[in-house]
């Protein structure tokens, strides 16, 4: 273990904790409890989606065909890659490789931005086809009003996910800046690990969003 003087210099140990391990456990458990609240937060949206998909299975399948599956798959791969770089960043912090840590954090932010870019493109495409509920939702003569409910959930779920991505990228920016100043090392890398947990969770939410929104109508 690195000698405490180094971590003291970094002001790593908060006054009310007995030792660094207790602080690490508290930080990790704190983030996991926060992720449980996020599970229930997104859970409310998944509940609404499940109820309406159960009530209108065929309409949801027709509506899902408006979404481009290949773009969704590519986007999923981009997000999985950002999870990989995030995991490697945590590893770099654990082994006190400062430059690798900063590089990997920036890579994660870049991949996240690419993901958001693709999402923005998809949103514009839906806007062009007048499929944005509340703005100018027009459904062609053959479609049914419940189509709008699918797009409500499409925009609410992917929009909420994108909002969490933006917050994640902001967080990563702060961590990258502090990492650049040498704040994190093998003895004190809690913030990097905790941000990693948050990022991986946002990735897991997308792992479920992709099949539920994009893949229902693929076989029709």
């Amino acid at each position: 273990m690195s000698d405490p003087r180094v971590s003291e210099a970094r002001g790593a140990l908060a006054h009310h904790f007995d030792d660094l391990e207790q602080q690490h456990d508290a930080a990790t458990l704190g983030m996991w409890v926060f992720l449980v609240t996020e599970i229930m937060f997104f859970g409310g949206l998944f509940l609404g989606y499940t109820v309406y998909r159960w009530k209108y299975p065929h309409i949801f399948a027709d509506a899902s065909r408006h979404l481009d599956t290949t773009i969704g798959a590519v986007n999923t791969a981009v997000l999985l890659a950002s999870s990989l770089t995030m995991a490697l960043a945590v590893h770099a912090a654990q082994t006190s490789r400062r430059r690798a840590l900063v590089g990997l954090l920036l890579a994660t932010m870049l991949l996240g931005s690419v993901f958001l870019g693709v999402k923005a493109y998809e949103y514009r495409d839906k806007y062009v086809h007048h499929l944005v509920p509340g703005v100018d939702f027009v459904y062609e003569p053959g479609a049914r009003p419940q189509l709008q409910i699918f797009f409500l959930f499409y925009f609410f779920m992917t929009g909420m996910h994108a909002l969490h991505m933006v917050i994640g990228i902001g967080l990563l920016g702060v961590i990258a800046a502090l990492a650049w100043r040498g704040r994190y090392g093998a003895d004190y890398y809690n913030p990097v690990e905790v941000t990693g947990l948050y990022w991986h969770f946002v990735d897991i939410v997308w792992i479920f969003l992709f099949p539920l929104l994009y893949l229902i109508g693929a076989h029709l």
């Binding site: 690490h24 456990d25 082994t95 992709f210 099949p211 539920l212 076989h219």
Partner: protein
């Protein structure tokens, strides 16, 4: 520090598996298997989520408390979904059977 250090090689392996699973679920969606489509899609998504959680989020090397936290989150989501769907699912069963 207590955090377990995972070798990058394992991360790359997990990443490859995730890509394969993504391709699998996209491919599987092409065939019309009726209700099985949903089951397969969710099963694959579940596996991917498990991989990310166990290895990328170090749940596999964390204290049992972290397992309990993650599991309770999913359990409560299941409770919410299951009990709400008992209402929607059983709405057609009315009127009550004649025997009452």
């Amino acid at each position: 520090m207590s955090g377990h250090i995972v070798s990058p090689k394992l991360y790359y392996g997990i990443f490859a598996a995730l890509l394969v699973l993504t391709a699998a679920t996209t491919g599987a969606a092409r065939f019309d298997l009726g209700p099985m489509n949903v089951v397969i899609a969710l099963a694959i998504a579940g596996c991917k989520a498990l991989l990310v959680a166990l290895f990328f989020m170090h749940v596999r090397y964390s204290k049992p408390l972290v397992w309990v936290a993650a599991a309770s989150g999913l359990l409560w989501l299941a409770i919410m979904l299951a009990l709400t769907l008992t209402d929607y699912y059983s709405r057609e069963w009315f009127p009550a059977p004649r025997g009452w």
